[in-house]
């Protein structure tokens, strides 16, 4: 685990990059003048990688993820997703997005929530039901097809929203603090499940978090960000085996990576204001 430059090369198996940002800036105009949410971001994410964006509140990690998803418009620089501009990637439904909250539609059953994207894409009803069954099984929610969201716990709802993001089989999964609102025990459990899912499906994952153990446990690459202006201050490669259990959090290698992340966060984060 050697320190790598900010512009790290693709680490994916076949070398092509799924997300490529160069000199990316994004500022919001507010009443008090412009806010520089992202400043000069250079980032490459290779196929099959699990990349965590970590940093304190206001460091732009969610904004960066939203820019990749074409939910925010960058004010400068280049950003390509799946080899095309982010806007085209969105129109081509090139990614699945998991939000901080499950954002399930309360009037739809779990099954119909999961198949919502398929419905929009015009898949036939029979095929949709089949997909729902497969992906609900994948996130261990078999048997909950006919339930409504309020009948499920928060963790189950978030798993349903992951099934919804996966069901149309996008190569890229964008996750914005998906487990942030859940308690520690549920979170550990879902982290393990997510890792198995990632190993099983070979997706590229971009994962926003503010938890150091979560980032280190899940990732092949950890992008440390810092606020005012939002920027990348370190990119750390972590090559733990794909199949891993929560126990690796006790190993010296794990603690060393976690230490580097913490150092990076400390260096970039000035508490003088």
């Amino acid at each position: 685990m050697t320190p790598s430059p900010v512009q790290s090369g693709p680490a994916g198996s076949d070398g092509d990059s799924v997300v490529r940002a160069h000199g990316l800036t994004l500022s919001f105009q507010t009443a008090d003048g412009p806010v520089h949410a992202l400043s000069d971001i250079d980032l490459e994410i290779g196929r099959g990688e699990f990349v965590s964006l970590i940093g304190p509140s206001g460091c732009g990690k969610t904004t960066l993820l939203r820019a990749i998803a074409d939910l925010e418009q960058p004010t400068g620089g280049n950003l390509s997703v799946n080899g095309v501009p982010a806007h085209e990637a969105r129109l081509a439904r090139g990614y699945g997005y998991v939000f901080q909250a499950p954002a399930l539609y309360p009037w739809r059953t779990i099954e119909r929530n999961v198949t919502l994207p398929l419905e929009i894409m015009g898949m036939a009803a029979g095929a949709r039901r089949e997909k729902a069954r497969d992906y609900l099984e994948l996130v261990n929610l078999s048997g909950f097809e006919k339930k409504f969201p309020w009948q499920l716990s928060g963790g189950m709802q978030q798993r349903a929203s992951i099934a919804r993001a996966l069901c149309f089989d996008p190569d890229l999964l964008l996750m914005d603090e998906p487990f942030g609102a859940l308690d520690e025990i549920v979170r550990d459990h879902l982290n393990e499940q997510l890792l198995q899912l990632w190993a099983k499906t070979q997706k590229t994952v971009v994962f926003v978090t503010h938890s150091i153990p979560e980032a280190v446990f899940l990732s092949t690459k950890i992008v440390v960000m810092s606020p005012r202006p939002g920027r990348i201050i370190d990119v750390i490669e972590a090559d733990f085996p794909r199949e891993r259990s929560l126990d690796i959090r006790e190993t010296p290698e794990f603690l060393e990576v976690a230490h580097r992340v913490r150092e990076g966060l400390r260096a970039g984060h000035s508490y003088d204001d």
Binding site: L71, R90, R93, W107, I120, W150
Partner: protein, 304 residues
Amino acid sequence: MTIEGQGAVPGLTARIFAGHAGPIAVVVLAIVVIWYAGAVYMNAPRQMDVFKRANADWGAVDLIEGTWAQDRPILPAPHQILAELKKTIIDQKVTSKRSLVFHTWVTLSSTLLGFATGAVLGIVLAVGIVHVGTLEKSLMPWIISSQTIPILAIAPMVVVVLGAIGLKGLVPKALISTYLCFFPVTIGMVKGLRSPDPLQMDLMSTYSASPWQTFWKLRWPASLPFLFTSLKVAVAISLVGAIVGELPTGAQGGLGARLLAGSYYGQTIQIWSALFTAAALAAAMVVLVGVVERVVVRAMGGRP
């Protein structure tokens, strides 16, 4: 000997007061008692005049009985109104002009027509306002100021103008109902169609859903609870609009016509029975909207 029912069944009063029926009954009883007392108080002066003119000897009981049995009391007693309701609803053929069922139908038909067009107009306006930015700025002030004009001021104009071009009876009254009842629907639906949270909207963007899909799969279902709340208000004021529409022309049919005729001839009992019918009709329509709401909410997975 049997031991049936021992200890297991609570007393009748206890059972009544366990639910809502007991408290409601007490309140209704109190209102009736106050009403009868009010009838004595309001009608006593005239009753004493009657006794004086007849040079009759009268006591307190005579006075009370008299005040509850006048032909044209200032405040009729409840049983007089009930008797009038029985006479005009049950004892008359429904096709008769004296039947309150006939008059109720005349008012109800224009209420329902006005309510239907008002609800559709309200929804269409709300959809336009939510989707087209300029419509909000250009339409909203007019929509709001339309409701500041007293309906009694424009109702005669509407009736007269439409009468001049040959539209009489149902349509002008329905139009006044529409004018009143589109407003709560528009206001409620604008709020309802905007009620999806940003994440739910973003989700649609990530699927690059068309505006049409976003409307039918997200905005519309999210707005339905707001719609039903608005419809309950709208259906009640739609009835008010229909009755107001019957007043200025001296219409021959409808609850409004009954109110007007009753006040011309001092037939207070007739006025009150028309009022009671209108209130019952409004309550029935609100309940009906509520039933539809409950069915829809259940189908949409609402919590029981």
